[in-house]
């Protein structure tokens, strides 16, 4: 399809070929992916408020549009027309660069996410490492926001949240090592392809403790409750984004939600079989659900994890900072290292359908 598209443009504009064609195609694919993502992100804010509202016996937003369905757009317009305030002694370039540095990596990781069989922007051979590398760049948004604001609460918030993010990146890295050991590939497409064959072949069974560690790590990485010490309203006002208003704040907000969607997606890809149907290999059921597209299964699984974010946020009180650090270094890190050895043993003994 793409080739015929390129050829037809090539006939119209003779110099459109080679590298330029590659760039234009990647741009079109990127826009086609980012636009649904932004809509998804907007309605996630709505879903979050509704879900938490119902859990707390409230109604949630219900004024703008039927059942409050136009609330996200109202929020967007409010954000766009708000005044952007710069602290008088802040470094204005770095102050504006910080939200950009938070937002760009959150979008850039989506380049390698496989949404179905052969349905991706880039099939990178090192896509799992790419995800780790680009994800770790997102820390700079918080670091710079804290430093450039020239204000004490952002600085404290940035310091403690960067320490937290680096620590949990280590744990998530070890979790990814166990996944890579089973899949024997760092390509996300291969990792998902190896999980074909029904719900029992997915990696959540041999890596069950790792899945839990990964999900808690994902909560920390995306600054979600109960680990949202970046904001920590009760302790440091609003953390790194005390001084931000209007669209720069909205960029931080969007980056957080993009990261949330991405972490949910990564959990599905690594532990829950990605685009594979759970009924594969089961007689009758497999045939009945044959018509369901890959993308549907992926989105259903991802939506469950997105719901999990809201559920956890509504259920647990905020952790104390040193307790989160202790959880990381003294419990999760030894656990992941032990599990690496367990996985190595299981691979040598060829246990179950996974190895």
């Amino acid at each position: 399809m793409w080739q015929s598209f390129v050829d037809s443009i090539h006939q119209l504009i003779p110099w459109f070929d080679g590298g330029l064609a590659v760039i234009v195609i990647i741009l079109i694919k990127g826009v086609a992916l980012i636009f649904p993502l932004i809509i998804m992100m907007a309605y996630m804010t709505y879903a979050e408020r509704k879900v938490i509202g119902f859990m707390q016996l409230r109604i949630g937003p219900n004024r703008v549009g039927p059942h409050g369905l136009l609330q996200p757009f109202a929020d967007v317009f409010k954000m766009m027309f708000k005044e952007i305030i710069f602290p008088s002694k802040s470094n204005i370039y770095l102050f504006l660069l910080a939200p950009v540095l938070a937002f760009v990596p959150a979008v850039a990781v989506w380049a390698v996410v496989p949404l179905g069989e052969g349905f991706y922007i880039a099939n990178l051979d090192v896509s799992l490492l790419y995800v780790m590398a680009i994800g770790s760049v997102g820390v700079y948004g918080i670091v710079l926001a804290g430093w450039a604001s020239n204000s004490k609460y952002p600085l404290i918030g940035a310091l403690r949240s960067t320490a937290l993010l680096i620590s949990y990146e280590l744990v998530i890295g070890f979790v990814l090592v166990t996944v890579v050991m089973i899949a024997s590939s760092v390509n996300l497409n291969t990792v998902v392809a190896k999980q074909a064959g029904g719900i029992l072949n997915w990696y959540w069974i041999p890596l069950f403790p790792m899945m839990i560690v990964f999900w808690i790590g994902a909560l920390v990485e995306t600054n979600r409750a109960p680990f949202d010490v970046v904001e920590g309203e009760s302790e440091i006002v609003g953390g790194t984004h005390v001084e931000y208003s209007g669209m720069p704040f909205a960029l931080f907000f969007m980056a957080e939600y993009f990261n949330m969607i991405f972490m949910a997606m990564l959990a599905v890809l690594l532990f829950f079989g990605g685009w594979h149907s759970p009924f594969e290999g089961i007689p009758y059921l497999e045939g009945w659900f044959e018509f369901v597209p890959d993308l549907f299964w992926l989105l259903v699984k991802m939506s469950f994890f997105l719901f999990l974010y809201f559920w956890i946020r509504a259920s647990f009180p905020r952790f104390r900072y040193d307790q989160i650090m202790r959880l990381c270094w003294k419990i999760f890190l030894p656990l992941t290292i032990v599990w690496i050895f367990v996985v190595a043993l299981m691979t040598q003994l060829h246990i179950g359908p996974w190895f």
């Binding site: 590298g19 051979d125 090192v126 590398a133 670091v143 990146e169």
Partner: protein, 204 residues
């Protein structure tokens, strides 16, 4: 001009400019950010050389971890620029000496004689199925396994040394005993006092 050559010139332009600007920048935070840009440009150049594993690792380790710690230090430092400038001339001879030695070493090691196309030959281009990681792993875990393990042990010793240095003096430490906090019972903290309520007649 080929498309990859255009990319090469764009990346190397950013590489050289950001490296020069990093040295000349007055603001330490800006210098650190420009160094990050330099790393990114270097990674992009390595990608053009089909070294995708090294490129990603450069970003993962240097940009994702090392430079974050740099930013940490920069944030904590109270940099007084006048003292920095006062000592600039004092350390100038030493600085010139060090840079001459470094340049001489690089010229001796990296000169065209060692890495000339005639000496090592034109590297062959691999197709898309070629895996960089497998090639590196095969070398690292078979031929160079002992040096690799030795380097790992050296790093482990360095980690232990760093931790013991920090944990030597714990005079002003506000360390919490977590197990004590977790095992605390309600009766340790709270006492139910039975106070007889006065009847309304008595209080009158």
């Amino acid at each position: 001009m080929e498309f990859t050559s255009v990319l090469f010139y764009i990346f190397s332009f950013f590489f050289v400019t950001s490296a020069v600007m990093m040295i000349t920048a007055r603001n330490t935070a800006k210098a650190a950010l420009l160094l990050i840009l330099t790393f990114f440009s270097a990674a992009s150049l390595w990608l053009l050389l089909e070294a995708e594993f090294l490129a990603i690792t450069l970003i993962l380790i240097y940009v994702g971890a090392v430079m974050v710690l740099f930013m940490f230090v920069i944030k904590m430092l109270d940099t007084d620029k006048s003292t920095l400038r006062a000592q600039f001339t004092r350390y100038l001879p030493l600085g010139i000496f060090v840079s001459i030695v470094v340049i001489a070493q690089m010229v001796l090691v990296l000169n065209a004689g060692q890495f000339d196309l005639e000496v090592i030959g034109v590297p062959e281009r691999h197709d898309a199925s070629y895996s960089n990681i497998t090639a590196i792993a095969e070398q690292l875990y078979t031929v160079y396994v002992y040096p690799f393990e030795l380097a790992a042990i050296l790093l482990l010793i360095a980690i232990i040394a760093a931790i013991t240095l920090v944990h030597r003096n714990q005079l002003r430490s506000k360390k919490q005993n977590i197990s004590e906090q977790v095992n605390v019972q309600a009766k340790d903290r709270m006492r139910f006092a039975s106070i007889k309520p006065k009847s309304s007649k008595e209080s009158k």
